[in-house]
């Protein structure tokens, strides 16, 4: 089918063979890596959203000590390179868990790469999500919250029925950006030896010496992930903006 193309460009045929999904080719490894990256990005993004929601509420409604502690958390995470946070949290997390297990009389365990990756990237994402959500919640008009209180809604109900739907369209652009950062930050786990897309690519490229083929293929995979998710976020945003005045 592609014979005419291979005749025009002989290098393409070797590339296609190297990228084929069956074992002599490395395409399967790359796809498995992409799946692992996606899994970690999804987990980290979800964890970041949970931390971010509580962080934003704490920053807005918490006591002075809570607010200062959250400020320290967001400032530190946003000033220290993710790579160093990953190493510190990875080592410290494993150490702490094993000490707790030892205290409880259990044997130490190896933390799975996926769990550690999700936890570490989630904590990093949480700091950025805190700021995004705080800004969005703050821009919900006070009058709406006062009206909700006047109708007798409790704090949980106000958040669920008024604050959350009103702030979501404002938060979505920032959250979509965070999701892109999450997919790209999974590449950092390659450095602690977790077999996600970038590390799989490097191993494939290293053993076949076809660097351009594999790195470009992996780049295309990342690009597909980011472009498709950009579309999805655009769609969600359009949906939640329905019935709201244009900015």
């Amino acid at each position: 089918m592609f014979d005419w193309l291979f005749a025009l460009w002989p290098g393409l045929q070797t590339s296609a063979e190297l990228l084929s999904l069956q074992p002599p080719g490395w395409g399967g490894n790359l796809l498995r890596g992409a799946l692992a990256s996606l899994q970690i990005a999804l987990g980290a993004f979800a964890l970041g959203l949970v931390i971010g929601t509580f962080g934003a509420l704490g920053k807005l409604n918490g006591g002075p000590v809570m607010r200062d502690l959250l400020a320290v958390y967001t400032v530190v995470v946003r000033a220290v390179p993710e790579l160093i946070l990953i190493l510190i949290l990875y080592y410290a997390g494993t150490d702490l868990l094993n000490q707790v297990l030892r205290a409880m009389g259990q044997r130490p365990v190896e933390i799975s790469g996926v769990a550690a990756g999700i936890a570490v990237l989630g904590i990093v994402q949480g700091a950025y999500a805190t700021e995004v959500l705080r800004g969005a919640i703050q821009s919900v008009p006070r009058g709406q919250l006062e009206a909700a209180r006047a109708f007798g809604m409790g704090p949980v109900q106000t958040f669920r029925r008024v604050t959350f739907p009103a702030m979501l369209p404002l938060a979505l652009p920032g959250l979509s950006n965070l999701w892109l950062i999450a997919t790209k930050d999974t590449a950092l786990l390659a450095i602690v030896g977790f077999a996600e897309l970038t590390l799989e690519t490097r191993q494939a490229a290293g053993s076949t010496r076809a660097y351009f083929t594999f790195f470009l293929a992996a780049g295309a995979l990342y690009l597909v992930m980011t472009l498709v998710s950009g579309r999805i976020f655009g769609w969600i945003e359009a949906r939640y903006r329905r019935g709201q005045a244009a900015q």
Binding site: P64, D68, L188, T198
Partner: protein, 265 residues
């Protein structure tokens, strides 16, 4: 006392903050006494070199990247389609793929391609191309250009069209308009974002350690490998990055104040 100093003092001298500061000082004293720092004198020289390398990689890549970002932003904001589409594609690809992948593509890919050409090996540049730092600088600059091209696109677009029309009515040429009206106002609007992006670029520099450039992160990793001390070098490293990030933020704040002189709002 200067007014801002008293205001700062009032903000800090609140009971709960004083207690938190005391706790923080306590933790620092405990860390200084109880943790192992005996390796510092042995690695001090290497660390200073590492910090220096991190700083110049950051400064150079930001300068080169910004110089590329201006035409990239201009092409997207006002250029003909033939220039706007490639500029947009470049920014999308750079922003859509991880920097680590770009770095490895450039280092391993170009690094394995160049030696195949005799004329490159015989050229004057070859002694540099055999080292790792030019590839690191190239990857960091391209990445900064991609992100900042997008920022500058928005900044160029946000300058009111009336300003440019007024300049044209005054008889300014295209280049004079760009240099005296369009660029300064776009830069002023982009400065707060650029400050944040420079801190992000600082946070991206430790990746160059994966292609054998000995920056401050690589020095800390070496301490970890040599002495099997894990936390102390990492904590010191985090502190160093926080200080550099703080200085960058401060520098941009001063720059913004300078740029905003005589501006309304």
């Amino acid at each position: 006392m200067k007014p801002w100093l008293t205001r700062a003092a009032q903000e800090v001298i609140v009971p709960h903050r004083l207690i938190m500061i005391a706790v923080a000082i306590g933790i620092i004293i405990w860390a200084a006494l109880a943790m192992r720092w005996h390796w510092i004198p042995r690695y001090a020289d290497l660390a200073v070199q590492g910090i220096w390398r991190t700083l110049w990689l950051l400064a150079l890549s930001c300068a080169i990247g910004f110089a590329m970002a201006v035409p990239l932003g201009l092409a997207q904001a006002a250029g003909p389609r033939a220039l706007a589409i490639p500029a947009r594609a470049f920014c999308t690809v750079i922003r859509g793929t991880p920097l680590l992948l770009q770095l490895w593509l450039i280092y391993f890919g170009l690094g394995s391609l160049f030696p195949q050409f005799p004329w490159i090996r015989e050229s004057e540049l070859w002694p540099y191309l055999r080292q790792a730092w030019p590839y690191a600088l190239l990857a960091l600059s391209l990445s900064f250009a991609g992100y900042e091209g997008e920022v500058m696109r928005g900044a160029f677009r946000s300058v009111p069209a009336g300003q440019l029309e007024a300049a044209r009515a005054m008889g300014m040429g295209r280049f004079a308009i760009f240099r005296r009206i369009w660029f300064p106002q776009a830069l002023q609007r982009a400065l707060p974002t650029l400050g944040g992006e420079t801190v992000l670029q600082l946070k991206a520099t430790p990746l160059v350690a994966t292609i054998t450039v000995i920056d401050i992160y690589a020095v800390a990793s070496r301490v970890r490998q040599d002495t099997f001390i894990i936390y102390e070098p990492l904590l010191l490293l985090a502190l160093i990055y926080m200080i550099i990030a703080g200085l960058i933020a401060l520098g941009f704040k001063l720059l913004e104040q300078r740029f905003n002189r005589g501006m309304i709002g």
